[in-house]
């Protein structure tokens, strides 16, 4: 982890130039709503003398369209509750989208039966937020890493599996001798490296990382981030990186998608986004980054609360317009 870390652009340039720019994951008009109304009996209400069925939804994602290009690290940022984790989980098939589609390498995967999905499962992996919960406490590290390999590549014999696991453990900086231990014997940073190893073990092309460093110590965050960047260089990975830390985005991302209330506000190259944020929400978000030369609090203050995503009016763009007044009341340069 000591060698010079390349900038996102340089990393992108190390990729096979023919494959560059080709879309790996395509997200089209993705929508996800969660019902708030419980089961059928709880939905029935008695209004003006007649029974009516009433359903309420949380609109977690409202028509997000996003392309993830091969070899890039696309960062999704936004405040908590804006639906960025839901996007990650829907792309991975952990949640079924309520509308829209997800394509991987040209094939639509969101409505595939689980059996047909298996070859794609191997090619896309996920790293989770909480390293304390994402490793099975009853399995040794060896078992945790072995299981996906045995499942996806049943033709490998024991020796090959062992070699491969040793390899991947070393590449994330974990001593292969530690394999006999359980997850609770490791620190948070070590655990996160183990879960990265688990994702890398099946040789994926695409990794969704759902706030992988936000549960870690600041001193460990950089280590894990650098590890992920190294892995990207060595294995030609594509990342969809969910985060709320803009400093990480600047360091890690090739492109940035800013989300607000389940919609995409702005999608731009990291450099141009940080140089010239266009959307007012992005500008507000950017101004919240603490700077060393900050002697006066000149960040844009957003008044009021984020609107609740329950029962949003239909039509995503009218919704986006609906929240604009909130940004218009931003009072700049409050001393």
């Amino acid at each position: 982890m000591s060698q010079a870390i390349l900038t996102p652009e340089q990393r992108l340039a190390t990729h096979d130039s023919a494959a560059l720019g080709e879309t790996l994951v395509e997200i089209r008009d993705l929508e996800k709503r969660f019902s708030l109304s419980g089961d059928f009996l709880e939905q029935l209400t008695f209004e003006k003398g007649r029974l009516r069925r009433k359903q309420e939804y949380v609109h977690a994602i409202n028509g997000v369209t996003l392309d993830v290009k091969r070899g890039e690290a696309l960062c999704v940022v936004g405040e908590s509750g804006c639906g960025k984790s839901t996007v990650a989980r829907t792309v991975m098939g952990l949640l079924k989208p309520s509308g829209g589609e997800v394509c991987f390498d040209g094939t639509r995967i969101d409505n595939m039966p689980p059996r047909d999905l298996l070859p794609y499962r191997r090619r896309m992996q996920m790293i989770f937020q909480n390293p304390y919960a994402s490793l099975n406490p009853r399995m040794t590290i060896q078992q945790t890493l072995e299981e996906p390999l045995r499942f996806h590549q049943p033709t490998l014999n024991n020796g090959e599996i062992r070699d491969k696991i040793e390899d991947v453990m070393r590449s994330v900086g974990i001593d292969p001798d530690w394999g006999k231990r359980y997850a609770h014997e490791f620190s948070g940073g070590q655990r996160q490296r183990i879960s990265i190893a688990r994702a890398l073990a099946v040789d994926p092309e695409f990794i969704v990382a759902d706030e992988p460093i936000s549960a870690l110590d600041v001193s460990i965050q950089a280590q894990v981030l650098n590890l992920m960047m190294e892995a990207q260089e060595q294995r030609d990975l594509t990342y969809l990186f969910i985060t709320h830390d803009l400093a990480v985005v600047e360091h890690f991302g090739t492109r940035v998608a800013v989300m607000y209330l389940g919609t995409l506000c702005e999608l731009a190259d990291t450099r141009s986004l940080f140089a010239r944020p266009r959307h007012p929400y992005t500008q507000a978000l950017m101004s919240a980054i603490p700077r060393l030369n900050d002697d006066k609090a000149n960040h844009i203050r957003l008044e009021g609360e984020v609107p609740t995503p329950v029962n949003l009016p239909p039509g995503v763009y009218s919704m986006a317009a609906a929240h604009m007044p909130m940004i218009a009341v931003v009072s700049r340069f409050r001393a």
Binding site: D39, R89, M92, G93, L94, P114, L117, L118, R121, R122, Q125, M126, F128, Q129, N130, A133, S134, L135, N136, P137, R138, M139, E147, P148, F151, H152, R162, E166, D175, P176, D177, W178, Y182, H184, E185, S195, R198, V202
Partner: protein
Amino acid sequence: MSQTTPSAATASATTPKTNSIVVPGRWQRFRESYLIYSFKRDWMAQVCLLIFVAMVIGAFLAPLIAPADPYDLATIDIMNSELPPVWMEGSDPDFLLGTDSQGRDLLSTILYGTRVSLLIGFGAVILQALLGVTFGLLAGYMGGRVDAFLMRMADIQLSFSTLMVAIVVGAIIKATFGGAVFSDYALVLLILIIGLAEWPQYARTVRASVLAEKSKEYVDAARVMGFRSRRIMFRHILPNTLSPIFVISTVQIANAIISEAALSFLGLGMPETQPSLGSLIKSGFDYLQSGSWWITLIPGGVLILLVLVINLLGDWLRDVMNPRLYKG
């Protein structure tokens, strides 16, 4: 831990990769496991296991070690009835713990009776566990309608008491096939009755812990890997719900033994000819007032000891089976 870490690290640093993977044998791993380590340091567990093993061995080797065969009517002499234990006046040295009202040797009858009680206890709990764990896992993991259906079934099942199920089933079997058939199959029937009546205890406990485990990210990680529901349920979630299952199992074995004793005491369980501890207590109960206390109190003491030892072992096992408790 703190001592092994540096040595393991230096060993891997100095020696080449060849001998780094030493897979110890199954027996060696068992001997070095925390289970044995903790057992060696807990005299309570040792005493309990000793008593429990002694009782189990005594019970299952009863035909070999018992001085008499209480099932063999030819050896029983009614003239020997109600003899006191050897340390009391008027006893017969042939009968160490005295005899019951029919002249059966009490020690032999207790050994045979313990065997029946243990068989019913373990049999019923295995049946309960199979049903309860499967239904609990399904209800917790699948959720929705499956959950609603299974849990309503459990509610209905719980609203019948074990006693009522036993009375109804016993009455039906006795009425249709006659008392003799009931006596022949009493053991199996009791296992079925107690097993079927108590599975919701397991199902509810398992479901509750599955709900807690299901929301953890390692389950999502397993789903992302594409594992099938059955594999996730049984290989990932079930091992993490084992500690409550162990706790409830020991309680349930003890409960099943007590249920059986209660049913037998009421005359709904094991017949007089193949007595369990419960039916022994019952048969002596009539003589308690007339001074023959040993026919009731000695089997009663054995029953209490058996249940107590199982419960204490269960407590110890619960503490040991949870890796987070000892190494976290």
